[in-house]
């Protein structure tokens, strides 16, 4: 159902409410009309078909409760939503008993409003379609960036095709840079949830407290400085998919909270007691050995089993070497387009060199290497000389050129960042320097963090 297929009628004696609401729905593309009293509303209800009626409880003449009764006589499947001031919540409850879908208290939070309307539309759709015909998936489509023909990758694709249409929780395993997020997206876009968002949260990127607030959101005043309510990622993923990246990095308390919300599909925002219901599918990913984390007690066993319902293991690039030339050519084509350069291929020697490399940073590292080569290349084919990192630093030093210590440091740091996929903490520990020092060097050499 497109928004323009939905008719919303707003009944309120206050012009400012009619105008504001009418405008709000119009911007979402709905068909909207307004009425200033019950009689005008009934007239409009007779003249054309409406799906949702928002009606003010307190109106001169026929009030909202009575109007709702008459609407339900005309068509009991019309969704009615009451508009009320705080003082008349009791009447709203009466309206709910008589079949109102919900009520809003003026003024309403825009986010609650948009959720309410989306739910109302969904309800209306279910009623009018009589619960049949849930959207069928015609064919599986994959993200453009998943490229290759190796048996290892084929197996992954088969698994994605199998699990996507189910609502099963999926755990994606694989080294960093193997494309776990792309696989998560493929699962989402091939599921029944594809019209709702997939929300990604990198669990490794937050401290425990911040992660909690990211996931659950917080109420206004939950802590110093929180003047407004903030919605968490779980709420944003309602009816869609939540992708929990680096799930192996969360602390014990968070593991417990997460387990609870996955089991109950309910949580409260920080600093609040209102229960929020959410409906999401969980896809998670890790490059950690979770099994050993379970054995040594740093990862909860019950959560592990909750998450590891269906598992997809992504092969490293080393394990699918036949895909390297295909991927390399794919990235060349992609960057040629975005950089507006007429580069079409790589020389056989270059491809050979790429095939011999171990690719600790996997596809992401390959992509970055090609991107860098594409920036510098002059001709239409990428040659060995166009490849800088990770192949030239040693060669350059060996050739006796005047390479400065700084150049060597710069390229080494870039290489390590490449390898860790931009993970600063990991890179700093490999380089045996502090994170602050690393940040300073990144700044100094203008390095790309990824």
């Amino acid at each position: 159902m497109k928004p323009s297929d939905i008719g919303i009628l707003i009944v309120d004696d206050e012009a400012s409410v009619r105008d504001a609401l009418g405008k709000w729905f119009k911007f979402d593309g709905y068909r909207v009309e307004t009425a200033e009293d019950a009689n005008t509303a009934l007239q409009k209800l007779q003249n054309s078909a409406w799906d949702i009626v928002l009606l003010d409880i307190k109106m001169p003449g026929i009030d909202g409760i009575e109007l709702q009764r008459r609407i339900k006589q005309i068509d009991k499947n019309i969704i009615t939503i009451m508009i009320t001031a705080f003082a008349s919540v009791d009447t709203s409850i009466q309206a709910l008993k008589e079949g109102a879908f919900d009520y809003i208290i003026k003024p309403v939070d825009p986010d609650d409003m948009s959720h309410l309307i989306r739910n109302a539309v969904e309800q209306r759709r279910l009623l009018s379609e009589n619960m049949q015909m849930r959207c069928q998936i015609e064919e599986i489509s994959f993200s453009d960036d998943i490229v290759g023909e190796s048996p290892g990758l084929e197996k992954v694709m088969e698994k994605v095709a199998t699990v996507a249409p189910t609502d099963s929780t999926v755990m994606i395993r694989g080294e960093s840079g193997t494309g776990k997020e792309l696989i998560a997206r493929s699962i989402h876009i091939n599921s029944n949830r594809r019209y709702f968002p997939i929300i990604t949260i990198n669990c490794g990127a937050y401290t425990e407290g911040l992660l909690e607030s990211e996931l659950f959101g917080h109420e206004k005043g939950a802590f110093t400085g929180a003047l407004y309510r903030r919605r968490g990622k779980l709420e944003m993923a309602d009816k869609g998919t939540i992708f929990l990246d680096e799930i192996g990095n969360i602390g014990i308390k968070m593991q417990m909270d997460l387990l609870r919300v996955i089991e109950t599909k309910q949580f409260t925002r920080l600093g609040g007691d209102r229960v929020v219901n959410v409906d999401f599918r969980v896809v998670c990913a890790t490059n950690k050995d979770l099994e050993s984390a379970v054995r040594d007690g740093s990862f909860r066993e019950d959560l592990y089993y909750r998450l590891n319902v269906f598992s997809i293991v992504l092969p490293s690039l080393r394990e699918r070497k036949t895909d390297i030339p295909i991927l390399a050519r794919y990235f060349v084509k992609k960057y040629a387009q975005s950089m507006n350069k007429n580069v079409t291929n790589l020389t056989p020697e270059t491809l050979d060199l790429l095939a011999r490399y171990e690719w600790p940073g996997n596809v992401r590292e390959l992509r970055n290497v090609i991107e860098r080569a594409m920036v510098g290349v002059r001709g239409s084919i990428i040659e060995l000389k166009d490849m800088s990192f990770p192949f030239t630093p040693a060669a350059a030093v060996a050739s006796g050129d005047d390479v400065s210590l700084e150049d060597v440091e710069k390229s080494h740091i870039q290489k390590i960042l490449e390898r860790t996929g931009g993970n600063i903490a990991q890179a700093a520990s490999l380089l045996k320097i502090s994170r602050l020092t690393l940040y300073n060097k990144i700044e100094k050499y203008q390095l790309k963090k990824m």
């Binding site: 504001a20 508009i83 003024p107 986010d111 409003m113 929300i199 407004y228 903030r230 944003m236």
Partner: protein
């Protein structure tokens, strides 16, 4: 020549000015003109009981001031905006009209208890400005998650989307931009 007027509403700090103008230029291919002394009576829009400012009133003031040439108007405020039925709005615009207004107020990290991040604030302000200006070119909300015309009811929604129009919205926008630049869209 048709252009977009960027109107700072009262003594707001203007660190966003250059990136915003660049963002507008990139999104619409239209130059913007900074209009520092547009007469806006901000106290008039103030609602004492809500301690907020009525965005529709500001919008009205923006479009009732005489225009010195054809154009769209984008007011940029720092105060908390609302419309009667909602607790707040990030901005408001006339659908297929002249005026739009945005506020940086709820785009600031500090109101959510998060560390200040000026770059992020400017990013959000650009997205919401392009979004509201998009409405003045007649565009409705878009279901594409990354599209700048995706409706944002929370700050986090803004961070999820890009500052760009999706191909569908671009397709709808192009003829309107042509009309605007050739002067046909002026009323």
């Amino acid at each position: 020549m048709a252009c977009i007027y960027v109107v700072p509403i009262h003594a707001v700090s203007q660190f966003w000015r250059e990136p915003l103008e660049a963002g507008i230029q990139k999104a619409f291919g239209i130059e913007s003109r900074f209009a520092g002394n547009w007469p806006i009576d901000l106290p008039r829009a103030y609602d004492k009981t809500r301690n907020q400012y009525n965005s529709s009133d500001i919008l009205l003031q923006l479009i009732s001031a005489p225009l010195t040439g054809a154009g769209k108007i984008l007011g940029v405020a720092e105060v908390d905006l609302f419309i009667p039925i909602l607790t707040f709005v990030f901005g408001e615009a006339q659908l297929d009209g002249i005026g739009s207004v945005v506020s940086s107020h709820r785009l600031e990290n500090k109101f959510y208890g998060l560390p200040d991040d000026r770059a992020l604030l400017v990013d959000r302000l650009i997205k919401e400005s392009i979004h509201e200006l998009g409405h003045t070119f007649g565009l409705l909300h878009c279901m594409t998650p990354a599209c700048v015309l995706n409706s944002s009811t929370y700050m986090e929604d803004i961070d999820q989307k890009s500052a760009e129009f999706c191909s569908g919205c671009l397709h709808d926008l192009r003829p309107r931009l042509q009309d605007f630049q050739s002067g046909k869209g002026i009323r």
